[in-house]
Symmetry: C2
């Protein structure tokens, strides 16, 4: 297989009829072959219609059938071999290790969802059996299960060409739930999108699934994305990206004749709180860990630590010294595309020009002028300056961070209290110290989706217990995660069967519990039948 | 205790300072004493500030403490005795049996949530323990639990002065989750609201809870409701009522600087499908059951059957005859207030004036001109008329319904396919017949939250397996129910603890599992500790 510039619509590979464009290699600023094509409104309509057509039969596939499909997707992605990782590297500037690591995460996610749906946990089965003799009124038989919500649109993310794009976490969780998926590929990595879509298409066909179960649509500008979100047959949207992009989709979806949920994960500044004893006992390790987290992937992560908060003193001064030393060893980084690089440079310039803000540490300067490279920066500001100026907690996507120096604990609490909603919050501390600072934990808990102690926020584990989401503006809906098995909950809805003949019920709801699922039966949790 | 006209703000009973009004007895159109008062923006702000102040300590109460509070609320409501039921009857026109039955449901809901939270099910605990030796990277310890979302605003519902108002399902589920609640009482039954609030206040004080944990705000017009939804400290809204009312709140909440979820249950027409064999074998029972469901509570239920769909023939003619006979025995009904009565009369007039629509059965005529009474109606239209005219599936709140006569099965499927989202869908059938008509089930499944066979949709059971919600416009978020234990999911959000010292974790997440909760530990469901 190779990149052709075609799109996958209703099981057919077709040229987009709205125009052409080419991807750009961010390391060299050179165009990448071949020419890619953009979809028309009619092509969007065809993809959506095919998804709607496929929705019922796909929703009615068994857990085992969908698990086999997800496993096959993983196999086919691996079968793309080096062509895929080379294309990722060309389209993103990522080194080989990152491309291979992200591929591993992507196929791991697919296999995780395969395993997870087989457990039936996500069906959230609840059965209340009939009580015909209850007074004053009998109770009918009532059985609840989750079912697929319907066709889902997934937007590819700039910074995760594999793990949060074509067959990434949103797609994997939607397919696992039994929802057809239409991916709007990201224009920075269209070739990667196409290769992965080829793999998913092969898997779908090998598994005998209907054509509309998965489509890939490409298009520059906002027209294609808007058309997808407005399509009546679409029932939910997954997005990872900027606040402005996420809110545009959210507002569009809420003003449809029938509003639909948009799960937009829009990033945040992921505060890191430095406690005094941590700085007194392990300052260099804390600083080096911070620099590693800040500069990983040129800082292009939603959970990049963009604000660091500590109390003035020798410990914090030492932290700055160690950070300065460690950061100086990190070379300039390639950014994902020209737009992100330009925005980063403008962002750091804007930050640096704010009153009371100074640069206290820098990465290596940009020496390669050909590609879209940038320099890491650590700024410093007083808590007073931070509290007075909302610009200081605006995310600058990339390897920049602001150290907020507080006079005392009260100021530290005030700074935390002033933060917007966050994906994560981190505390560097000793355990004894943490026990005496649970008020800090409480404030941070009210602000974040994930609370990290003595780790750094980057390196989001894909597992049952992950929460990757948070209070607005980190995400549009604080009740859902976009990473880990719980992400499937975004794409299902409960349906209740009342007094339904038992033999005609879906297997998961039948008395015998043929799939051996853990269920809540008359208030008791059990995996047995009855 | 007695009705005073005061409101509960920050634990104090105070007079609203924005104006005065009186409730009206819908049976007599007479004013009810005493004069009630309306809150100012400053009073709204005070209630919201108190809720925000109480949020952290209330969220940190143990499951046992909150369960005791809910039980105490139920006890205090029962202790109000006849004064409460008399006031309900005066403010709603409901007969004593309904008032007492609804009180029973209300205290039953409170006790159900008390029991449910003690099980810990709603916490959705997931634990993935550390794997320090994993290659290429270690896995940190990750633990997920649900926590309270924060202050919740609940709007009292016109038709459930107890079960969906001051201490109704929304309030009970929010308090169970650990969220402070601010109730905006419904202006049709302010005295009922005040009495119930007195009971909740007594319970809160007896349990030593902070003042802001529960407030009651009253106000005519939309100002007070809008102010509550716009208050920055409010994190979610529960509403049961009209489409226009629900959408006004939904749009308001989505245009806040930080959008918050509005769970609006906005009713629907709850289609009832009549299969031929059911009409051939049990026509009279089907018709009488339908009339009972249609006229219960003067039809003032969200799940009232407003559309009946069958295939032309002798069976359907017989259904009409039996319905005509049964409906004629049902007297005119008192409606909840003048506005609802006026809207009902306008709605049936509008329906009756649509092309191809005729009245085929009626309840007893209105004889008591003093109160807000109305007459039940069954209209008939052809499937073609129904498909051509969206007015025919608009909800007319009250005891009116439209029988849609289809030429054949294909037309029946077309009618079902044209329906908007619904709270419920009902099929009257024989079991053998249902087995051969699973295509009808599939279409209905895609349209409803609850699928009812050989029951009627009214009489919503409060239990684990209930789904009271549905695709838009039945509700704003198809993924949640407002009735039953699953309703608590609206008011919690997940938080993940990464590498957090075990001794400092919330009890539900500790290794030993001190509360004996069912948890997902490394992918396996268990109630044991480790």
């Amino acid at each position: 297989m190779s990149v052709t510039g075609l799109q996958l619509i209703n099981g057919q590979w077709v040229a987009g009829e709205a125009g052409q464009y080419q991807a750009t290699n961010p390391s060299t600023a050179q165009k990448i072959e071949p020419v890619m094509t953009q979809a028309t409104q009619a092509q969007v309509d065809a993809a959506v219609a095919a998804a709607a057509q496929a929705a019922k039969s796909f929703a009615n596939t068994s857990l085992a059938e969908r698990a086999a499909f997800l496993e096959r997707c993983a196999d086919e992605i691996m079968a793309l071999g080096d062509e895929l990782t080379q294309r990722v590297m060309a389209e993103t500037g990522y080194p080989q290790g990152r491309a291979e690591g992200e591929r591993g995460r992507t196929v791991g996610q697919l296999r995780m969802f395969a395993k997870h749906i087989l457990s039936g946990e996500y069906l959230n089965i609840r059965i209340d059996t009939a009580m015909p003799d209850r007074q004053p009124l009998p109770r009918p038989d009532l059985r609840l299960m989750n079912q697929a919500i319907g066709p889902v649109v997934v937007f590819g993310a700039s910074n995760f060409p594999l793990a949060f794009s074509t067959a990434g976490g949103d797609t994997a969780s939607a397919l696992a739930a039994g929802c057809p998926v239409i991916v709007k590929g990201h224009n920075s990595h269209p070739g990667t999108a196409e290769l992965v879509a080829q793999a998913v298409d092969k898997a779908a066909k090998a598994c005998g699934l209907p054509d509309g179960v998965f489509s890939l649509i490409m298009g520059a500008g906002n027209e294609v994305g808007s058309a997808l979100v407005k399509a009546p047959q679409v029932k939910a949207v997954g997005f990872t990206g900027s606040l402005s992009g996420g809110m545009a989709l959210f507002n569009l979806a809420n003003t449809r004749p029938d509003p639909i949920p948009v799960f937009a994960e829009m990033g945040s500044v992921n505060p890191v709180v430095l406690f005094p004893e941590a700085l007194a006992t392990k300052c260099q390790a804390v600083a080096e860990g911070f620099v590693g987290s800040l500069t990983m992937g040129t800082g292009q992560f939603c959970v990049n630590p963009g604000v660091v908060i500590g109390i003035k003193g020798e410990g914090l001064d030492n932290f700055v010294s160690h950070t300065k030393e460690a950061l100086a060893k990190v070379g300039a980084g390639v950014m994902l595309n020209k737009g992100i690089c330009t925005a980063y440079n403008a962002g750091v310039e804007h930050l640096g020009s704010q009153p009371g803000v100074e640069v206290v540490a820098e990465g290596g300067a940009v020496t390669d002028e050909a590609g879209f490279c940038s320099q890491a920066k650590l700024f410093k500001a007083s808590a007073q300056a931070f509290l007075a100026n909302p610009n200081l907690q605006e995310e600058v996507f990339g390897h920049a961070s602001v150290l907020v120096e507080c006079e005392d604990k009260a100021e530290l609490l005030a700074v935390l209290g002033a933060l917007h909603g966050q994906l994560s919050g981190t505390i560097q501390c000793t355990e004894a110290e943490l026990a005496s600072q649970m008020d800090v934990v409480d404030v941070l808990r009210s602000k974040v989706g994930r609370l990290v102690v003595n780790n750094y926020p980057t390196g989001v584990e894909v597992c049952d217990a992950m929460m990757h989401g948070g209070p607005f503006p980190a995400a549009t809906d604080v009740r859902f995660t976009s990473v880990g098995t719980a992400a499937i909950a975004r794409f299902v809805r409960p349906i209740c069967f009342q007094n339904f003949p038992e033999a005609l019920l879906p297997a998961a709801l039948q008395n015998a519990n043929p799939w051996g699922i853990s269920r809540l039966v008359n208030g008791e949790r059990t995996s047995s039948g009855f």
